[in-house]
């Protein structure tokens, strides 16, 4: 066993140890170096993939459980309630208890269901989640894959979750599920457009599709400030249509609790239901992260022009905290949507998309292009 | 119209009708064969216009089965009660008024369900609350040793 990795490890800490919080590439680079030095390149890749996979699995579970808890607390406070308060202080272990309960629940085989598709559907939803999570820059250097077409990739991948939903609805042999799935299909296909166009507005502004570069370009100011009016419009449109994309209220037509009992996952039980349930929250996390990355500067701290002292203080807060903070603000807004508004009807949902969001979006893209051409942005 | 005028009005339709002026309503007793024609007249005549059937009750009088109709006019504001009864307990038949007042549809189904009175010309005469194996519980001769406990 060779121990010289310790030396390289220590050498990474040329500054104080907490420096890695500001640039994770120091840590990841060091680990990569050491692995390359100690095993063959093939095994390096394998080990790195396994490590990243395990980390994402943990991250997935932690974020999912936390978001379920957060949603329950947020809606409770909105509704003048306390929310979960029995298990652990302030009920923080409530979702873990729920998860344990769901794990122990019987998985009910549905008579006349298409069992293959029925069983595959939750996994499709989950896998799509993982694929999207991989491309998001969490902090400087904390990035599983940095595609040069990152945005494109995320758009492509996240729209695949509808396949899982459609399969679940179709194979359940339940009429409620079927209606839910069909609604969801119509919904996601049309809202994909708005999301794409809203993000294209920012791509025009940044000139790149690589997420890390987009974040880097916001060092001098977040795009929502840089692109002013069109960027703000794009942001609002993005938040609205991403809420629709992830099937959350007020656009939760596919679930429509009061109409279709539970929509496409009516017939699922136990851990498979938990997959759908978790996927909904992870989806929310993904769209919120993209919004944070594209509009609010990702992990980039908040800087104001030449205020050096202020910028220093902002820089002191680690990028990861910035990223999480921004994401959660957007998640909170999405939650507030759900707990305030009544649900739209399916035809109104499409009206909203085709009559309001899409035309405004198209004009917005033009304005942004004009702005960039003239150099009127900051 | 007040009750007096109503009485005269009903008299003008048919001399032989049995009319009783109760404390609240003018009560007209009809034969089942007369019922539909007179109900239609009351519904359609300009000065009566009983367009609101606010209650329809089936009654088991012991010997006879009967139906009581409470009518009101939303135009004139007066009310009238029509009563009809039949002594045929095995196969009681009374004309349906559900084409005059839509609300009679459900009411008549309820009466059929609980008393077994059949309404001819009813569009959709099915049991409403109970399934077909039940008897007609609101009849006075209904026996149910299990569910009805008498002190």
């Amino acid at each position: 066993m060779r121990f010289d990795f310790i030396a390289s490890y220590v050498s990474a800490f040329t500054g104080p140890w907490w420096k890695i919080f500001y640039d994770f590439s120091i840590l990841t680079g060091a680990v990569d170096e050491w692995l390359k030095g100690s095993v063959s390149p093939f095994w390096t890749t394998v080990i790195e993939m396994v490590v990243v996979g395990v980390v994402f699995l943990l991250f997935y579970a932690v974020v999912g459980l936390f978001l379920v808890y957060a949603e329950r607390k947020v809606c409770a406070f909105i509704q003048n309630r306390l929310g979960p308060n029995r298990i652990g202080p302030f009920g923080i272990f409530q979702t873990i208890a729920d998860l344990v309960k769901l794990l122990f629940k019987e998985i009910i085989p549905i008579k006349n269901a298409d069992s293959l598709l029925f069983n595959i559907a939750p996994y499709i939803v989950i896998i799509v989640n993982f694929m999207a999570l991989a491309a998001i820059p969490y902090a400087k250097g904390l990035h599983a894959i940095d595609f040069n077409i990152g945005i494109f990739y995320i758009l492509a991948v996240s729209s695949m979750s509808v396949v899982g939903v459609l399969l679940a609805g179709w194979s359940s042999n339940s009429k409620y599920s079927l209606i839910g799935a069909m609604r969801s299909g119509a919904q996601i296909v049309s809202y994909e457009l708005s999301i794409g166009l809203a993000l294209i507005t920012i791509v025009i502004l940044s000139g790149t599709m690589q997420l890390s570069e987009i974040v880097e370009a916001q060092r001098t100011g977040w795009f929502i400030f840089k692109g002013h009016i069109p960027a703000v419009i794009a942001f609002v449109i993005y938040v609205i249509s991403s809420t629709a994309e992830i099937n959350r209220g007020p656009f939760d037509m596919a679930e429509a609790e009061s109409e279709l009992t539970a929509g496409y996952h009516t017939e699922y039980s136990g851990i498979k239901f938990a997959f759908f349930y978790l996927a909904e929250y992870i989806n929310m996390f993904i769209v919120a992260s993209i919004a944070a990355t594209m509009f609010l500067g990702g992990w980039m701290p908040f800087h104001i022009g030449n205020l050096e002292g202020f910028n220093m203080v902002m820089d002191f807060i680690p990028p990861f905290i910035w990223y999480i903070g921004k994401t959660f603000v957007i998640i909170w807004i999405i939650m507030l949507f759900k707990w305030t508004f009544p649900r739209l009807r399916i035809d109104q949902l499409l009206t909203l998309e085709w009559k309001y969001l899409l035309p405004i979006n198209l004009v917005n893209v033009l304005i942004m292009a004009f702005l960039v051409l003239k150099g009127w942005h900051f | 119209m007040d009750n007096k005028q109503l009485e005269e009005f009903v008299k003008s339709i048919d001399q032989d009708l049995e009319i009783r002026n109760g404390k609240q309503f003018t009560e007209v007793t009809l034969l089942p064969s007369q019922l539909y024609a007179i109900a239609k007249l009351l519904r359609e005549k300009e000065e009566a216009q009983f367009d609101f059937l606010f209650n329809l009750t089936g009654v088991d009088y012991g010997q006879d089965l009967g139906v009581v109709y409470h009518l009101r006019s939303t135009v004139h504001g007066h009310s009238i009660v029509l009563k009809t009864r039949t002594s045929d307990r095995v196969n009681p038949n009374i004309d349906s008024v559900s084409d005059l007042w839509e609300t009679a549809n459900l009411h008549e189904r309820e009466v059929y369900d609980l008393l077994g009175i059949k309404f001819t010309n009813h569009p959709d005469l099915r049991r409403l609350f109970l399934d077909s194996s039940w008897g007609f519980p609101l009849r006075k001769d209904y026996v149910d040793d299990i569910n009805i406990v008498t002190k």
């Binding site: 909105i78 003048n80 429509a256 399916i346 | 606010f54």
Partner: protein, 374 residues
């Protein structure tokens, strides 16, 4: 014993039949609707009822009049007080008992409070039917305070059994007036919030305007009463037309709309909350002194004959029809329950609309299933 489900025969293969209920989140009870759809469009629907039919009318034939009152609680549990009142008024009318002004005032205030809490629950559940779950909690939060007021005076929260022939069971609690006045002040502040969350909301307006329109002619023909009928412009408020208790001494408006759609039915109820507050405000300070109950004979026997009494419950006109043979039990007791009649119009209204609209329409009719089944 399995009942055959009669399904509307059809030639087209497009038909898609869906069973809503008896356990469905938005039917508020054990109502089962067999809906045949084309795509998402409702082609026709058939209500199947009777899941909680308790035979109250049959039970009434073997018990005495004071005992009937506690059964009426259990019909329309949100208008329990008005149901009680109907039976009591009928008995008092039949026996020609004069009740004191105090009783009339108490009954009127209690009726209006229970109308208020019923409409709050309507607001809450209607919001939830449309997908705004927060409405449910705000509505229940405010309703809870009225239930507390009820509990303090009557000992019951929903099933109050507060009336008895000849008066009320107990006198008002000493704190009653103060609490009610505080509540009116509190709730007047909350009503604008209701409007901000639901009434003014553009999604809500879009969901309800022009949906399930009931014309005046249809409202009359289907015998619809209560706020649902007044939304179509049918003036049918018993409180105005045949004032009972102290309704002839208060000034209030009959809430009338002409649109007749789901939105109008909703607005009619919200406006009625305001009117109820007005009525209570006019009465609460001038409750006259006097006995809270008139001494009745221990065994109440109605003279032979027919009696009919109507009251305006929160959902419409409750008629109590009694045929008495002079005994202590009624010979035949019939409750003309507003929900039973209002249910009849559901098929007519929902035809040609979407499933989501069906939920909105049945929510706006505010059906209480135990009252349908009795």
């Amino acid at each position: 014993m399995e009942e055959k489900v009669e399904i509307i025969a059809t030639d087209e293969k497009q038909e898609f039949i869906i069973n809503m209920g008896p356990q469905h989140p938005s039917t508020h009870g054990v109502l089962r609707l067999v809906v045949s759809l084309q795509g998402e469009m409702v082609k026709s629907l058939q209500p199947h009822i009777g899941y909680i039919h308790r035979g109250i009318e049959k039970m009434c034939e073997s018990i005495t009049y004071p005992q009937i009152i506690h059964l009426t609680d259990r019909m329309d549990y949100l208008s329990a007080h008005q149901n009680n009142e109907a039976v009591c008024l009928l008995v008092e009318k039949a026996l020609e008992v004069d009740i004191s002004d105090r009783i009339k005032y108490i009954r009127t205030i209690m009726s209006e409070l229970s109308r208020l809490q019923s409409h709050q629950l309507f607001w809450a559940t209607f919001g939830m039917d449309l997908g705004g779950q927060t409405c449910y909690f705000y509505g229940l939060r405010d309703r809870e305070m009225i239930l507390d007021i009820f509990e303090e005076t009557t000992g019951g929260r929903m099933l109050v059994s507060y009336n008895c022939p000849g008066g009320v069971m107990y006198d008002l609690h000493p704190d009653f007036q103060k609490k009610v006045k505080d509540y009116i002040k509190y709730f007047r502040k909350k009503l604008p919030e209701y409007d901000a969350i639901l009434t003014g909301n553009v999604i809500f307006r879009e969901r309800t305007t022009g949906i399930g329109t009931l014309s005046l002619q249809d409202a009359i023909s289907f015998g619809i009463t209560g706020p649902s009928a007044r939304a179509s412009g049918l003036s049918c408020d018993i409180r105005k037309h045949e004032p009972y208790s102290a309704y002839d001494r208060v000034k209030f408006n009959e809430v009338l709309f002409t649109e007749g759609d789901t939105c109008a039915r909703y607005l009619a109820r919200v406006e009625e909350m305001r009117e109820s507050l007005n009525i209570i405000e006019q009465l609460i300070d001038n409750i006259p002194e006097g006995p809270y109950a008139v001494k009745m004979k221990p065994v109440i026997k109605l003279p032979e004959g027919d009696y009919f009494q109507r009251v305006e419950t929160a959902r419409g006109e409750l008629g109590v029809y009694v045929i008495s043979d002079g005994n202590k039990n009624p010979f035949r007791m019939k409750f003309r329950s507003p929900n039973f009649v209002n249910l009849g119009v559901l098929n007519h209204l929902a035809k040609g609309f979407k499933i989501a609209d069906l939920i909105a329409i049945s929510g706006s009719l505010d059906l209480i299933i135990p009252d349908i089944d009795r």
